[in-house]
């Protein structure tokens, strides 16, 4: 999902430097909108569905309410997902939501990589 989202976002940013057709811009906007919506659902389902082990449950706590909660909620979800989604649905323009999406993907990956490593193994 992130690959398609990132592809749509980077294509959106590229429209600044490249003269593209209105039809292509419309497609990129639609792809970005659908990608953001699916990504949001995917992330929330991932965090809200029951996890089978204590380590995994604790990782979710770290992401949602612990060390990484600010990065997750503010950067990955609000700035990187919700705001661009709302902008694309109700606003005009592709550049800002595309850049915000790219920031959101990076923040989410950062949280996904770092948070599980906070759990002690021994």
């Amino acid at each position: 999902m992130h690959a398609l989202l990132a592809g749509a976002a980077v294509s959106g940013v590229a429209t600044l430097f490249l003269d593209t057709s209105l039809e292509w811009r419309r497609f990129v906007m639609q792809a970005l909108t659908v990608g953001l919506a699916i990504n949001l659902v995917n992330v929330l389902v991932e965090l809200m569905t029951p996890h089978p082990t204590q380590d995994a449950k604790r990782t979710v706590q770290i992401i949602v309410r612990g060390e990484y909660s600010r990065l997750f909620w503010l950067s990955a979800i609000i700035i990187g997902n919700l705001l661009p989604l709302v902008w694309l649905i109700f606003g005009d323009g592709l550049m800002l939501p595309a850049i915000a999406s790219l920031i959101g993907i990076y923040c989410l990956e950062y949280v996904w990589v770092r948070a599980p490593q906070m759990i002690p193994l021994s």
């Binding site: 992130h2 604790r58 790219l102 990956e109």
Partner: protein, 410 residues
Amino acid sequence: MNFGFIIDNRKCIGCHACTVACKSEHDMPIGVNRTWVKYIEKGEFPNTRRLFSVMRCNHCADAPCVEICPTSALFTRSDGIVDFDGRRCIGCKSCMQACPYDALYIDPESHTAAKCNYCAHRVEIGLEPACVIVCPEHAIISGDIDNPATEISQLMAREQVTARKVEKGTQPKLFYIDGDAASLNPIVTEQSGSYMWSSQSGGVGHFAKFAEARISQNTAQWVGNDEKVLVPGDDEKILQKARDVIQENTRRVYDAPSKGSLWGWEVAAYIWTKAIASGAFLVPFIASVFGFTRVSGNVQWLGLTIALLFLLFTTVLLVKDLDKPTRFLYVLLRPHWRSWLVRGGYALVLYGGCLTFLTVTAALNLQGITLILFWASAALAVITAVYTAFLFAQAKGRDFWQSPTLALHM
């Protein structure tokens, strides 16, 4: 032959002789350990008790560190010992994510992964491991667990033994007699900023290079960890659940220093650049193949250029994250095919190659071969995008990464 260990907790006095003998035998640097003794205390004064647990490599029959190692630097010998060859190690630290027992570390001098190797050099000439010889209580028993005549086999047959995290399916061969659940389950007791007789609780191994500077600044006890330790209360409910199982007031009072979070921003950034490299090609591909919209030549060229550029960034980040970056080609030249790091590495190379040829054939207007490369690039873009999910799934130490939806996430 199938070597294993028994730690007899009825006898262990927590003297650390095994730790010291091991460090001496293997001439190990400061801060890292192949075996160490964890202390926990239970109860309230005066009804308290201190328990010792010797921690080390479990020499798993199905070792996840061996599975994930991209260069076969970690391997299982025919006698069941999980050994390593530092000359092949590229310092990718994936073994440290795969091991559920925290047994591996990065040697701060050689910058390669290391762990208990059962003193294989001693075993080969008929000697027992250094920790077994030095233990004053004969609390560490080594030997062939498949031979019914050995002391270890007879102990296993006679006594009730436990092992750590058997649910991981790694088939550990380090067994504890009188193993204490609170000692063996790391989530029950918090890692704290400092322990008895120990002021350094981090900044070891991979992070040793930062330790001196940070200690001199006297800034933090958690040297090498960018994050603070979990504050009790963040996830009090889960901890309480774990404590309820143990039903005793337990605390960790001595342990080896934390090795910190070994995969940092470089890994997150490489997943990000990899996603862009895949998506920049896949989005115009999907648009044109499924007829969503007409894709102009300009857009296709831009997609190709961005994909190639971000593949380059991906490679740079991958190499930068290695503790032995000069050995990055070992992934391709000394591959261990079961490792998704190798499969992913080859996917990146093939994807880059396909895109390059596609650029050339498209420029030369060779339509037949361009069409083949167009589809091959799309397939490789998908593999490039999702292989990290399978790599993370091989990191068995991290439960959160075992999610079946991770491939969809990528």
